[in-house]
Amino acid sequence: MTTVPPLLAARGVSKAFFGNPVLRGVSIALQPGRVHALLGENGAGKSTLINLLSGALRPDSGEIEVDGRAVPRMTPALARQAGIAVVQQELSLTASLSIAENIGLGAYPKRFGLIDYNELASRAKAACALVGLNEPLSTPVGRLALGRRQMVEIAKALYRKPRVLILDEPTSSLSATETKILTDLLERLRAEGIAILYISHRLNEVMALCQHVTVLKDGTCTADRSLAGTDAAGLVRLMVGRDPGDLFPKWRPSASSANAISVRGFSAGLMRDVDLDIRAGEVLGIGGLVGQGQEDLLLGLYGAIPARMASATVNGTSGLPGGVPKANALGLAYVPADRKREGLHLIHPILTNMMLPAFARLPALRLRSRRAEHETGKSLAAQLAIKGDLGRPAQALSGGNQQKVALAKWMPHDPLVLLLNDPTRGVDVETKREIYLMLRAFADAGKAVVLLSSDTPELVHLCDRVAVVREGRITATLDRAALSEEAIVSAAMGAEKQKVAA
């Protein structure tokens, strides 16, 4: 081991919420010039550990050390002074403020007691250049795509010139190129002697980037070792406590020749003049760099944003649904990417969330049957392995379980076409596997699945075909035989104009 004291460390910390232990005697040491991976399923205690390290929470027992000295009362302010910066998984940006204002928020350069906007702009620009953000600094953050917002969040951390950088799933909403920029940047920061704690569900990234790993399972540390000599399967075993098996279900052809949805000359939002056929029984992937219009494609088909088209057929009816209720009636369902903002009613019980599409479709004034609702909820929870009391508010659930609820609510309606917007973002390995199995089973049952994903391996292993979107157009449609990560990335970047005949 090195003789240099770690920049930031936790020694045997424990934390419980309402008598429920979340962390038990966990230690972690962040050394300068090292990228340290923190792995674990949702609910394993990763976020709590970060909160302890950054002073947002105080441990029940154990110590937090900075530069080898114990800090008995760590606070966020002390952490900032010590040069600890956290990039949260939940973005902490203010939508109506500009990129520069968000980056500098709380640490504005002052001149005569007023904000020195020139200084702010030059320093923010430097931080943006590091992460490859080239949008004008005055752009309100609310107008940026999710991936770009994530980059602003990282720039915001870099602006503070941190000695310790903690990143909570930074790549979950990033495209392949953005991920590349980030990993290059982290390599550089590491070389400069910054200690980096890196949390991700993407094991290949972890294997490529990190030198050391700490694995949490159910609040205890199951591994604290160098990454050299380990493989991805071994890590999964440490996280899950059993053999990983295959993450993706076996692919077998299930597509029929019948079209579930067929559009010609379709335009909505960023999408321009697109022709697309979605077959019953297939999983159609939608790939591409983040923010090229993929989301508008789904929302336009779903009737949630205005769309124009030359012709369209949806499940045998001509024309697109003009609104969401109509789309639901035609057998379409949509699972949004941002489950907290678009998918769920966090303050409402899990059961109410599951029943909402039913409430939206039932006659407005028919009396509800609590007993029937309970039965449906219980069977959905069993089907999707959602544990615990369904009367709790949805915000009590972990991210993976929230995503399951967002999916579960459509199941009673047996939709013919399932439109999914990045359903596995920030979801742990085990839940991912369950979701993949469900989607495959759905396609096998003759339904159409449209899977928009920022996770390229997912597109390669799960989909029958992948349509790659670039600048509002479908630039390539790759068949199963032609599917590979390279093919998707090169089509996404416009490297080659290939069109494999469908």
Binding site: A360, L367, Q395
Partner: protein, 323 residues
């Protein structure tokens, strides 16, 4: 953590005891008990019955307001709508309508339509509910001044008179009306898909619309209901008062919102129940009655009333932080 608490029935009982409607009810009971010791005659059956009768007016206005607030909006035109119904009812009377029922129905239809116009502005023109309903209130007030001028109009409508004065089985007809409306409101709110939709709309409109909730028609319905119940209150006030005049509805704007919030409904929408608004309305008239007992000048009464509402809200009505 006793065994009693762990059982299902115990859980439900303790949930009720901790709920906001129950808390508000407990405050009302406490104030009534203390006040009847302090002030002679306050606790008399007749006086308490009178308080509930006055509470019925606020409760009716606040019924629609609860729908609107739960759906994430606010209706600032309720006071003007109360006045519209109290003034237009005497003007809308026909010879061929001996019971007065037809004119009451006509007034209710008119005010429901006014509410629907509010809803159209909010849902289709995307005007903020505060601006839309405030503009509507201002418009209606202007119209009322033109139509009625400064003079009071007398109602000669048998149904309205009955509603304001009759006491079948010793219970004022206004209270019976309130009980009937409360039953319907609670049923619609908590036992129908429509009720579930408005909670979903108020908690997260984006997620609600992506889940297929028909946003436009639900918004229209909610503001329509508010117009309807405000007019019911107007009819009741007219019956109790005998006369309608411009400004008769003014006290009911703050009162309706205060009753909703005192009853534990979140002003941010998505959480709450009319079961809390009911004791909230009674609490408000109780406070008013106490202030009258104190025998202060009208200016001080208003100051006291405002401060008490604020104090009560600080005591019980502060919102939990939302994640």
């Amino acid at each position: 953590m006793t065994a009693w608490n762990d059982s299902a029935g115990g859980k439900r009982a303790s949930a009720i005891l901790k709920s906001r409607p129950f808390l508000t009810l407990a405050i009302v009971a406490a104030v009534w008990i203390v006040a009847s010791f302090v002030s002679r005659g306050f606790g008399a059956y007749g006086h308490l019955r009178y308080l509930v009768e006055l509470g019925a007016v606020i409760g009716l206005v606040a019924a629609g307001q609860t729908f609107v607030v739960v759906a994430g909006g606010i209706d600032l035109s309720v006071a003007a709508i109360v006045t519209v119904s109290a003034i237009s009812l005497p003007l809308l009377s026909w010879q061929a309508d001996p019971t007065g029922l037809v004119s009451v129905i006509a007034v209710l239809a008119l005010t429901t339509a006014i509410g629907v116009v509010n809803g159209l502005g909010v849902a289709l023109l995307r005007v903020h509910p505060m601006i839309m309903t405030l503009a509507m209130a201002t418009f209606l007030q202007g119209l009322l001044i033109i139509i009625a001028g400064g003079s009071a109009v007398t109602a000669e409508n048998p149904l309205v008179h009955w509603l304001g004065n009759a006491r079948p089985a010793g219970i004022p007809a206004g209270i019976i009306l309130w009980i009937a409306v409360s039953t319907v409101v609670l049923t619609v709110m908590h036992a129908t898909p429509f009720g579930a939709r408005i909670f979903a709309m108020g908690a997260n409109p984006l997620a609600a619309s992506l889940s297929g909730v028909p946003m436009t028609s639900t918004t229209l319905a909610v503001y329509g209901i508010s117009g309807f119940t405000a007019a019911l209150a107007g009819v009741l006030v007219l019956g109790m008062n005998g006369q309608g005049y411009v400004g008769i509805g003014d006290p009911y704007l703050l009162a309706s919102i205060a009753a909703v919030v005192l009853g534990g409904t979140s002003i941010l929408g998505g959480l709450g129940t009319y079961a809390g608004t009911i004791p909230g309305a009674i609490l408000l008239v109780t406070i008013t009655a106490l202030i009258t007992v104190v025998n202060a000048s009208p200016g001080w009464r208003s100051i006291l009333f405002g401060s008490l509402i604020l104090g009560l809200l600080l005591l019980s009505g502060r919102e939990q932080a939302r994640r």
